[in-house]
């Protein structure tokens, strides 16, 4: 049987990390293919509900990435997002969800190599955590 590969939902800001992913591709930098990428206009657009929805749908990991603080296209979207993510991360810890399942990074559109390296790091970490089994909404069981 082939080795288990994690499913990772990746939410990227259009203006920076999405560009970095593109750049990594154009430069033919190798990075694993476990990511389902969702493009959003800004990390400020990301509601913690979306992250939870990913986990509920069976994601083994979630990775959020946007512009460096100070470089947000909308000036301050990522500063608000940072506080929101801090509280979300704290709450996930309180309910006992492995920290290795949720990752955050700031990657600019020029940082293709950082994107590829971070992608590898995220995969390795989610692999260590193993297949997700918490908060997954399964189909109703008929008994």
């Amino acid at each position: 049987m082939s080795e288990w590969e994690p499913k990772i939902v990746t939410i990227l800001c259009n203006w920076c990390t999405y560009g970095a992913a593109d750049l990594a591709g154009v430069n033919r930098l190798q990075y694993p293919t476990n990511f389902k990428v969702i493009r959003v206009p800004c990390t400020g657009r990301i509601s913690p509900k979306m992250i939870l929805a990913a986990f509920r749908s069976g994601a083994d990991g979630v990775w959020i990435s946007g512009c460096h603080p100070g470089d947000c296209h909308y000036i301050e979207g990522n500063f608000y997002a940072r506080r929101r993510f801090t509280m979300l991360k704290a709450l996930l810890k309180h309910v006992g969800i492995d920290e290795r399942r949720l990752h955050f990074s700031w990657i600019s559109a020029a940082e293709g190599p950082k994107f590829a390296a971070t992608a590898k790091e995220v995969i390795a970490s989610v692999k260590q955590a193993g297949p997700a089994h918490q908060l997954i909404k399964t189909k109703a069981q008929v008994i």
Binding site: P48, K49, L52, A53, R56, P69, G70, E76, F79, Y80, R82, R83, R84, F85, T86, M87, L88, K89, A90, L91, K93, H94, V95, G96, I97, D98, H103, F104, S105, W106, T118, E121, Q134, L135, I136, K137, T138, A140
Partner: protein
Amino acid sequence: MTGYTEKIREAAKRLLTEKKVDCFIGFRKGSVPMVNYPVIVSDPAKADELIWDANCAMNLANYVIGRKDKVGILATGCVARNLVTLVQENQIKREQLYIIGLPCSGMIDKSQVIDKYGDVEIVSVIDKGDTFAVEAGDKTDVLKKADFLSRNCKICAHHNPIEYDEIIGDKVADPETYIKPEDVKKSESMSDAERWEFFEKTFSPCIRCYACRNACPMCYCPTCFVDESRPQWVGKSSDETDTLTFHFLRALHLAGRCTDCGACERACPIDIPVRYLTSRLNADAKEIYGFESGLDPKMRPLLDHYKLDDLNDFFK
């Protein structure tokens, strides 16, 4: 806290007659022991219905949301903080409120009293200051209030209202330092698996009646996420994942807004310790940002402002 009743009636009568407020929000005696009812009085003659004791545990801040008139309201330490948060969130204007501050030494946890008496019917409960008298079956006991305080009142850091227009009674001593809730301390040393198990065990019996949400003055969204259907963030059945998701998101929505008033926990018909997650986030907000909700009407809520040097170390 005994002796407030007379002063409250006097203040309500005065404010209503002088037309300083259009209505006055307080409590009147309930028909079952340990449950007083919120009441909105607009006729000064009815002000004598108002009462106050250690069973006024519902959060009155709930009733000011969206009001257009001028409102007199009673506020303990936590309720005053909820009012401040509602002002910050534009649910009511500060000028519309006339806050009568009540230094508060804590509310009686009715579940604990009911548990103590089991099947014996409790006929009446009378607040006597540091003690309270319980008439149950054919005898009357005098119990120490400190032994039956609500869990949130035991760790309360702000017994005295911080924002008020008039204050009744003497200030109550606040703890010198911040008290970290016992269960928060305990969970800090647990493993992820143990925490998950605890979370599951604590919340899975929930019947999703949403009484906790309705009792909370901070839960005023016209459409709560549990009722949204496109997208549907959480299913409506009693599926365990949905139930846990509800509690997870409810707690997250209260991050930096909850004042640990305990109304949610008291409203729960099956005694789920609903504050389990919110009290942890309160502790985190305090630890990470030095933030406590509702202390200053001019401040923005926790998630509605930021600092350039906010915690950043979890970003790669």
